[in-house]
Subunit: 344 residues, 2 copies
Amino acid sequence: MARVRMRDVAEHAGVSVRTVSNVVSGYRHVSPQTRARVQRSLDELGYKMDYLARGLRSGRTGFVALAVPFLAEPYFAELAQAVIKAAARRGITVLVESTAGDHEAERRILEGGLTNVADGVLFSAITVPAADVTATAPDFPLVMLGEHDVGDRFPRVGIDNVAAARTVVEHLVAQGCRRVVALGRNGSENGSQRAEGYRQALSAAGVRRVNWLVEPVEDWNRAQGYEAVSRLLEGSGPLPDAIFAFNDALAVGALRALDASGVRVPDEIAVAGIDDVPESAYTHPPLTSIAPDLDAIAERALTLLDEQGRVSDGQDTAPRSARREATPFRLVVRESSLRPPPAP
Amino acid sequence: MARVRMRDVAEHAGVSVRTVSNVVSGYRHVSPQTRARVQRSLDELGYKMDYLARGLRSGRTGFVALAVPFLAEPYFAELAQAVIKAAARRGITVLVESTAGDHEAERRILEGGLTNVADGVLFSAITVPAADVTATAPDFPLVMLGEHDVGDRFPRVGIDNVAAARTVVEHLVAQGCRRVVALGRNGSENGSQRAEGYRQALSAAGVRRVNWLVEPVEDWNRAQGYEAVSRLLEGSGPLPDAIFAFNDALAVGALRALDASGVRVPDEIAVAGIDDVPESAYTHPPLTSIAPDLDAIAERALTLLDEQGRVSDGQDTAPRSARREATPFRLVVRESSLRPPPAP
DNA sequence: GTGATCGTTTGCATCGATGCAAGGTCGCGA
DNA sequence: TCGCGACCTTGCATCGATGCAAACGATCAC
């Protein structure tokens, strides 16, 4: 049973190949009878489009590449799932690439390693500096996902990190926390944004500067969260009364370290994170977090890709403006940050 | 800056297109000088292979499709990551498809929805019955991943589920547990295998049948684990002294339910799962589990795909034998199942 | 009746690379 | 010197679909 081509269908239906193509692609001017006959042949022979051939000829493949640092990190897995779902609604297939947080791998993406195959690229970068993106100046549709801002040339979709961080910390402060430690690193683009939100919230609440502390971590995963908090607990300084983790993975590690040391959460230390990954509802205690609307992010990102595609096809005159799309998020309050009201 | 084709490179280097192709593909009989000159042109013009065109002509695309039910489930995310890594080592790109556990979606995979684009398919199915796979009889390289066994026609790669379950339950029994509840469903293929291992271990340990109990759950995720254990705790029967969850997601849900009800783990109830997903090292308390060797699975699966590819190209006489590859696993013991030795 | 118009169908060239097999060059043994 | 094989290079057809524009027939207005 060899592959069925349009030619085979055409012969079977007694029409030209072009007509079969017209039927398949839903071209308007095909008589009902012809359409019906061709359709019957299509079904009977079990025709399946060769996407490669179509892609070669038409220049559009129906693929979109999604590049994330670590597919196994829950946040990115969720994001990927959302993108795949949104893409499926548009009849688009997703090509998932994992850069492993490797600088070289990220550069390769920008240099168009996937250009021929994918109609566009959704790129969630962590190492590539903004300057590199603008310098490389990719000539294919590209949308940056999440936190990493790359300046004017390409749109970015994600939550407003400053606002998100501020929201969490405001909540912690409202719970009576004063000495709030930030767990993260303000070296990266999004790290410094979250640090900024942290500072804004504390400063606005009139918390004395001496109580501010950003505990640096290299990677935002569970292990580093665990280590950082262990360090903190072993240290000689006064203990914080709250931990604001730059993401939930760090918070999960933090919770484990606190649990292992017998520190009660939230009574002694409140904890909150950002991302609201699924496991955050199952931690001990359940974790307060910021829930981004991943479906909205995926949806918007694909739309922006589409628009870029049309722009570069048609009127190239319209300047690709840098749209920084801030998608909605909400604060999800769970036990980890719920402190009893202070004694009256 | 339009796309650079082989033709452009050929003109630039003063050779034929075919020679450029020979250089790119590493054909032996190319003189060093020619190769060097062409190579220089390649670099200078920044040539990038058009994978679509090559795929169309040669029939091989360099893509492998990976179909999983839920990419956002940690186990599958880890698996996908492992496959992507292993594929990258072979210069293969992975196309990730998410079936959402939908029966129709799984059927579509088997009917070759990706055949043209991918050289082969790695399929982690959960709903499609084995009979369907053999009935549909896909005519493309296919390797089943994980638990689902589909009979003789296609190889399957994964751990031995019976042995894995037996190992966990043996461990629980060795910790002194007698009334071990299994959390899962023995309707599915791999469910019944894990149930079988559970029975074997209890029976071999001489545990009385009255103490056996399989608590059914629809989907193997955190929420259902939580609900099932909540039901269990609300019930009137005697409490178990251990819970064996068919996977870690269920175990995580179970731990949360126990925590919420104030049941101490492992003192009152020991808990263990299968998969050893990353979060299992961070639960409260850390979860005992079975760690499959995902890298080995990915590696082996790709090798088997390769072999099928060659078989169907060359001598098709060799019968595609059903190799059920049992990859190694190990028991990872953590606090959740460590009970104090019984009083002397 | 005739030309214009619309709707429908078709043929041919083409996307960019590789399979195939022939053509050319060179060196070497007879 | 000729013939032969080894090595290198090339031209042409081709993979399967779509872009383009022409051809065809029927309908319609004049």
